[in-house]
């Protein structure tokens, strides 16, 4: 039984089945809302209103989506190689150093675009370095990347608490954070995009890193589907033994893929640090690394799917914050449930409805054939 499921039309495979899985995930989330004693329909309405109803809401939605595009791409790149990088959270956290240090060093004299460039390189390098060790261990020592990346999340969290509390905290300050960056350590906001559309963005921190995220989505597409390296990565993901047989160097591909994944996760740190808070704070990642898993599964590891999935989760984050004003029972933790349900239904239970749909299409096919046959005679 090499192919347990019959072949389905592409639109069913890439459109209908993911849609059904998502619908079920959101239906179950609706049941939770019902259990809490609120109306799921009203909650959904409030959420959409909060996320897209006014300029500032849209700004925040896209601001959160920026984080999730980066982390979603990070998880997706690793998926293509058959690796599961749960360490996006830790990679982004450590990459905060790659953003904050250039800002702290350069913000007094360099213009913002130079600082931004340095921070992009810094964050990518730091994230890649933090993913390099699990990648190397997987490739050379055979330790499972899932376990090591989980461990590295915890190690990153301890490390960053130490760095923020004992090293980077300015003398005399109580809060565990760096000093605020000067003007050139801050990314320009994208209000002009909003004014084109005639909408006022208000105080939303929607900034330049969103465009960088879109560029990275294109880069990921090009690398994975249009280069030799991407071909080798995908071959590894489909069949490691075939890749080995074809002369692809397994350990090299694993290490490179993990570093690419770590670099993408690391760039996420640009958005909150340079784009919003203009300083590095404790726990600035806030779970975005884990949301990336849901985003990648939902987007089927393709940039075209990941960007809308990230915007959907951005909507959940922003709308979720708005709902809690109206419905105090429903806090942002609701999103954690939805995230879990999406991972469950779009990931682990991906094939639950496939047999039924296959049968449905098979009977449809025979019925159509049965109908056309007498008409032809």
């Amino acid at each position: 039984m090499s192919a347990p499921y019959a072949k389905l039309p592409a639109w069913v495979d890439y459109g209908l089945i993911p849609l059904i899985n998502l619908t079920v995930a959101f239906a179950v989330a609706g049941l939770v809302v019902l259990a809490v004693g609120e109306s799921p329909v009203r909650a959904a309405g409030l959420m959409i209103q909060g996320a897209f109803g006014y300029g500032e809401g849209i700004g925040f939605t896209l601001y959160y989506a920026t984080n999730f595009i980066f982390t979603g791409l990070a998880v997706a790149v690793a998926f293509h190689c058959g690796l599961f990088n749960i360490g996006g959270e830790g990679q982004a956290y450590v990459a905060g150093l790659g953003v904050a240090l250039p800002c702290l060093w350069l913000d007094q004299f360099a213009p913002w675009y130079l600082v931004f460039l340095a921070a992009i390189v810094g964050s990518a390098l730091a994230g890649a370095a933090w993913a390099l060790i699990p990648g190397w261990l997987q490739a050379k020592r055979g330790s499972h990347v899932v376990i090591t990346t989980i461990m590295f999340n915890f190690i990153a969290s301890s490390l960053m608490v130490y760095v923020l509390v004992d090293v980077l905290k300015p003398a005399g300050s109580m809060a565990p954070q760096t000093r605020a960056f000067a003007e050139s350590g801050q990314l320009p906001r994208l209000d002009w995009m909003f004014s084109w559309a005639g909408v006022d963005m208000g105080g939303a921190p929607f900034n330049l890193s969103f465009l960088l995220a879109l560029v990275m989505a294109c880069v990921v597409w090009a690398v994975i589907w249009r280069t030799k390296l991407g071909y080798e990565i995908r071959t590894m993901g489909h069949s490691p033994s075939a890749a080995r047989y074809a002369g692809i160097r397994e350990s090299r591909i694993i290490i490179i893929t993990m570093m690419m994944s770590g670099a993408l996760a690391g760039m996420m740190a640009l958005n909150p640090i340079m784009g919003d808070q203009h300083r590095m704070q404790l726990d600035f990642v806030g779970g975005a690394g884990f949301v990336g898993i849901a985003v990648a599964l939902m987007g089927r590891s393709h940039p075209v799917g990941i960007v809308p999935a990230a915007i959907l989760f951005g909507m959940l984050y922003q709308g979720g914050a708005e709902i809690s004003f109206e419905m105090p029972q429903i806090s942002r933790d609701m999103i954690t449930i939805i995230q879990g349900l999406v991972i469950l239904f779009a990931g682990a239970l991906e094939n639950m409805f496939r047999p039924a749909i296959t049968t449905f299409f098979a009977t449809m096919g025979t019925a159509r054939a049965g109908k056309t046959l007498p008409a032809g005679e």
Binding site: I86, L137, G142, I150, Y162, I343, A348
Partner: protein, 323 residues
């Protein structure tokens, strides 16, 4: 004598913090030895802690709380089983999903039912587990060294603590001396052979997953009904992952699991104790380093630098019956 008393205090808190680790790691042992990887220990423990705390305070009984904890944990374990055994889904993905669902649901439901910011009400007398004194603990306390060990270290724990430690030899016995244990180990190494012998791989794996759920239920109940009096948002705080690390560190063997958990518990107890105190020779070690040490040790072990941790061979691979 002063050093000795400090040592006893540290060891006592080591035992206290090790218990949930031992229970959860043994839970993982049953599941992983049967070939079902379980990243979801953390989530099951958290959900069980919440269910235990909530049911105990509503019904005013610790036993009902424990029952609820086990029930909820087994339900989540069955979800994991359904996804990874019946649906042949990715076991890691399913475990991650369960962690998030538990993390979110405990807060949302806790806030809706009790309105205390995600906590459950403080458990009173009779609603939580109490410590038991071993016989003559008070009388023997004055004997130097041995008396102190007996009455301060061995006595005065919860029944669940003794249960957890008794479970270690019991699990060893089940795994290596019973038919169920033999089959459990076999199905994690070579499910095809088990199937050929006419034993249902699916049912065997489901039983392993249920065992895992039951033990995670105990672990959660210990957290919210013994160690503290009530559930607090996110109270597992990574203990499920430490347990997972301990399980790997112990190379999936029951007695080693106990020692690994005690080691990690000891590091935890030390890190609390050492805050601001300098160690001889080394100087002051940052608390964060002590907190990260279990994870660092596990990574080093996994890398094969201190022995080699080889997981069950069929772990993570769904079983497809040949037709």
């Amino acid at each position: 004598m002063e050093y000795f008393d400090t040592l006893i205090v540290i060891l006592q808190s080591t035992v206290r913090v090790s218990v949930p680790l031992i229970l959860a790691a043994l839970a993982g042992l049953y599941s992983e030895r049967a070939g079902i990887f379980d990243i979801g220990l953390e989530g099951k423990m958290l959900a069980a802690a919440f269910a235990g705390g909530a049911a105990a305070s509503v019904y005013g009984s610790a036993i009902i709380g424990l029952g609820a904890a086990i029930f909820v944990s087994v339900c989540l374990a069955l979800v994991h089983g359904f996804a990874s055994i019946t649906q042949r889904g990715n076991q890691i993905v399913s475990g991650v999903a369960i962690n998030f669902i538990a993390l979110g649901a405990t807060v949302i439901l806790g806030q809706a039912w009790f309105r205390q910011g995600g906590r459950t009400p403080q458990l009173g007398e009779g609603e939580r587990f109490t410590t038991v004194e071993l016989p003559f603990a008070a009388e023997l306390a004055d004997i130097p060294i041995l008396g102190s060990i007996y009455s301060n270290l061995l006595s005065g724990h919860f029944l669940l603590t003794y249960f957890a430690f008794a479970l270690v030899p019991f699990t060893w016995w089940v795994l290596y001396r019973t038919r169920f244990g033999l089959r459990l180990r076999a199905v994690g190494e070579n499910p095809g052979a088990v199937d050929t012998a006419g034993i249902s791989v699916i049912w065997l794996r489901y039983r392993a997953v249920i065992c895992c759920g039951i033990l995670c239920g105990f672990a959660g109940a210990y957290l919210s009904m013994a160690m503290t009096a009530g559930f607090v948002k996110g109270m597992t705080a990574g203990k499920g992952f430490i347990a997972l690390a301990a399980l790997i560190f112990a190379k999936w063997k029951p007695v080693n699991v106990m020692f690994a958990c005690l080691l990690f518990g000891f590091l935890d107890a030390m890190s609390i104790r050492m805050q601001g105190n300098a160690l001889p020779l080394i100087g002051e070690v940052p608390v964060q380093f002590m907190q990260a040490l279990p994870y660092i040790l596990t990574v080093i072990l996994l890398a094969g630098f201190i022995g080699k941790a080889i997981p069950p061979r069929a772990g993570g691979v769904p079983y497809v019956k040949e037709r």
